[in-house]
């Protein structure tokens, strides 16, 4: 069974200017003392089209982890704008937090991230070359997508078993985490319209 359960992730400093560091306050619970550190990573998806543009913003080791409930803040620098395709700079993308133990990923927490100009002028007529200083980053903190994977917690040698576990994992992801995007949009529509109107008034 999973020795580590993530209980909560709070997104700090959100929304914030694009250049601000990411800050996640992570609360997790550990069943028993872990001999090894946990490795946490923040991955910024530069483009929906290809994994090529993924950036690992940072990775930290977290330890020692005795049995109990723990929390820490994971802060990582904003993505390197040079590595983001210009066409994908504005709009919706994804930030991922992953945690691995002994090199095996056991949880993946995904957030939608929306990058938008705050200035209505710029929003109407976005510059061809994205102006990152004017961009605001919004992380949809209320709707994390959590996928859990079974891993071998007792040793690092059993890579075989690990790879066996990988196969069924897409199905294994808890059903709750798989809210289809259409549903998301559908639910959001009335709210979205309302706020849209109010913005027009402004």
């Amino acid at each position: 069974m999973a020795k580590v359960q993530v209980l909560n992730v709070a997104v700090l400093d959100n929304p914030s200017p694009f250049g601000n560091p990411f800050q996640f306050e992570i609360t997790f619970e550990c069943m028993e003392d872990l001999p090894e550190d946990l490795e946490w990573k923040i991955i910024y998806v530069g483009s929906a089209e290809s994994e090529e543009y993924d950036q690992t913003l940072d990775s930290v080791l977290v330890g020692p982890v005795p049995a109990g409930r723990h929390m820490f803040v994971f802060q990582a620098d904003a993505p390197n704008t040079g590595l983001i395709p210009e066409s994908d700079a504005v709009g919706v993308t994804v930030a991922l937090i992953t945690c691995t133990y002994n090199g095996q990923e056991f949880i993946r927490i995904g957030y939608y991230v929306n990058n938008e100009y705050t200035d209505p002028e710029l929003r109407e007529n976005p510059p061809v070359k994205p102006d990152y200083t004017q961009l605001q980053r919004n992380i949809l903190a209320s709707n994390p997508r959590v996928t859990r994977f079974h891993i071998n917690w007792d040793g690092c040698s059993d890579k075989m078993e690990d790879s066996e576990n990988v196969d069924p994992s897409p199905n294994s992801s808890s059903s709750s985490s798989m809210v289809p995007s259409s549903c998301l949009a559908g639910k959001a529509l009335p709210v979205g319209l309302l706020s849209g109107n109010s913005m027009d008034c402004l």
Binding site: M1, N14, P15, Q23, T27, M31, E36, D37, E39, A48, E49, D54, T56, D58, S59, V60, L61, V62, G63, P64, V65, P66, A67, G68, R69, H70, M71, F72, V73, F74, D88, V92, T98, T100, E105, R108, Y112, N114, E116, N138, L140, A141, P144, R145, T147, P168, S172, S173, S174, S176, S177, M178, V179, P180, S181, A185, A188, L189, V191, G196
Partner: protein, 900 residues
Amino acid sequence: MKLLKPSWVSHNGKPIFSVDIHPDGTKFATGGQGEDSGKVVIWNMAPVLREEDEKNVNIPKMLCQMDNHLACVNCVRWSNTGLYLASGGDDKLVMVWKRAAFIGPSTVFGSSSKLANVEQWRCVTILRNHTGDVMDVAWSPHDVWLASCSVDNTIVIWNARKFPEIVASLKGHTGLVKGLTWDPVGKYIASQADDHSLKVWRTMDWQQETNITKPFNECGGTTHVLRLSWSPDGQYLVSAHAMNNSGPTAQIIERDGWKTNMDFVGHRKAVTVVKFNPKIFKKKQRNGSSPKPSCPYCCCAVGSKDRSLSVWLTSLKRPLVVIHDLFDKSIMDISWTLNGLGILVCSMDGTVAYLNFSQDELGDPLNEDEKNAIHQNIYGKSLAITTEAQLSTTIIENPEMLKYQQERQRAEQVNHRMTHEAQAHKLTSVVNGESLEDIRKNLLKKQVETRTADGRRRITPLCIAQLDTGDFSPALFNSVPILPGSASQLTSQLSSDSNTATSNLDPLSTPLGSKAPDDAKDRSVASSLNTTAMKSNLLLTTSTKMEPMKALDSRFTERSKVMPGVTISMATPSSEKEPCCVVAIPVAVLKLPTPTPQKAFTLQVSTEPPVYLEVENDVSAVSGAKLSQLRCSREGREWDTLLPSRVITAAGSSDVVAVACEDRMLSVFSACGRRLLPAILLPATMSALHCSGFYVMALTACTECTVSQSLLTQQGVPVIGLSNGKSYCFNSSLETWNLIADKQDSLVQCADFKNCISSQDAPVSQGPLALTQGHNLNAGRLASRLSSTPHHLQHGMTLVFLENQLASALTLRSSTEYHYWLLIYARFLVTEGSDYRLRELCKDLLGPVHKSAGSAWEPTTLGLRKRDLLRELLPVIGQNLHFQRLFTEYQDQLELLGNK
């Protein structure tokens, strides 16, 4: 008989392998296959029992589900106390679950469903030893042991008081072991396996008592489980799948000589599970019929692969009832309610059935007294503890007692409600994060980040709660990281590094302060505003930008194929970097050979408030004379003093500091560094020095035996522990050394008083008696082997042990421990019915009713008022109605005294 199939009890159609009703009858657990893991679910019993509760949407049906098992769960079993749940599964693990009291309903992070776990059951231990699927688990009577059996052909006996200690591993089966049952008397455990055998093992030496094979020779094929059962009177053991004349049976094995002459016949396919009713019955006496004495009998339910269930009474030749086609697939497990009238049955088809009998059908259940009498008759001892049920049959003789009993019940209910409210309150505070808000505000700044050898960031997480309690205690000591630089100071108290800074322990005592709750509120309001604003922003775009979203969606669930960039190798922290939280209690382990003078050393002598001593020898002074310097820092204030000789050892408490020098001089200083006494010349060189409160103990090197441990209690009673396992304390009134702990004392090991420890008593692990006996004390280690000693002998041993404890606590002047042991002692006397002793105890506590000058009676003992103690004991005495006269007598006298 009523039959019901609650359709809501399901694992989404997946097979249910095991079912067990909680001893208090309010809930039950099921175990089986989950979506991609094993699953244990705890259900509310009320909706099964009552239709109106089933329809009431406010009454939860599912209380908790745990999918922590990696593979199918084959067995779930409540402990006899109901505090624990054990589960065993195909993942080779046994997990022991306990309810977390202070955490209320919660959802799983990231899950959108509103279904919360009403109760929180968390795994407290994982028992790993089996190399194959665990098929069955069983708690021994009194929850001393937990047994588990596995397809690895072994049975493992775990020490249920000290998980994960293994008491024994029973080897001998040559096939998959699929069922276990304990003898209710505690003398045996029986197992049934695929190797066509049923083995009975002794609990005394864990060797095989007998091996029964004949009824199983013909058994072909395999059943998933072979759950056998022992009758509540201990006389019969009934096996699962056996064969007789090529027909499937459940074999009855008599305890007397392990004879196999009878069986339950009639099932068309193999018997998978047998379960005895926990009650013993006697024929219902009808009005008018001649009251002829009828033999008590047992009741047994048998489930089979043929999907039918039969219920038998040992007094009848034919089954009481047979229910065919109850399920679509094989029956897997059966559980009776504790009152013996209800039964839950589960099946491979994923459904559960509930049967309810009336007393007319089964007979009159014997009460605990009668059941005990039967045990007493057969085995010469009673097995049961005084219980609520037992009391209900005794007539209450006076109104006081009745009032008391009713009050007690009411108090229990109120208590119950209060704990619930407390839980709810606790929950909200946790959910709102109020208690955590201060921590969270500064977490980023406060958390310790280091670099590993290969330059990677490493964050030490802040521990916000212990697991077992679920209590939130901000910044527990062990969670606060200690930088490598300061670690040495804590690890080796006598380190020679005198330069170590002493101030960096400050954050330990003041964990992050408690500031600005208003601020916190503002912040959460602000953040919630932010989220809503942000959400609407985001969602507006979401609807217009669907295409890339789809592409992004896959990213949530796919594990990275290649670990991008970062190396996976974990830097194993070197030992010195490992933050260390060991602060040795001021108990040194010293041999009598005197310590050699060191150049310098530092030690912490008290944590509350933090006091540090620093000693530097051979500080050069004028004209070649060597001086020693003693420096003491206490809450940031420092003082120092000089000594003419080299300091061998030093000790201190929050009130005094003592140092012993090479010239056999002992100097004592006040907390502020004032010299309290002229230097004392000791008869021999100093060996060890201890301070506690205002007391100083000096142990000189002239004694002959090896002292392995010595300490001074808070009350100033010197205690020494010798290497032969004996501990003595000094009785200043007798001026003798009294024995207070003996490791080898067989009395201690056989004492059985566990029943008398109430869960409300905080275990006293801090008192001087507990400290001395500490690891030496194996009290009750052998106690559970009921069979190894005759009951009256064990009774005597326990009595002696408890009286010893009382006397020791008295000598040690440890009032909390005296109080603790007095309560246990009283409870023991009450349960065991020792009238004379109880009377004497009460008499002493009450003292003379009329004041007389000649009386030597002291109204207090160790600062506790004796009559208050008696007042505390009376409810305990009142628990056993046998003592109601004693109860009334002393109740009246106390009242009388109170009125005066």
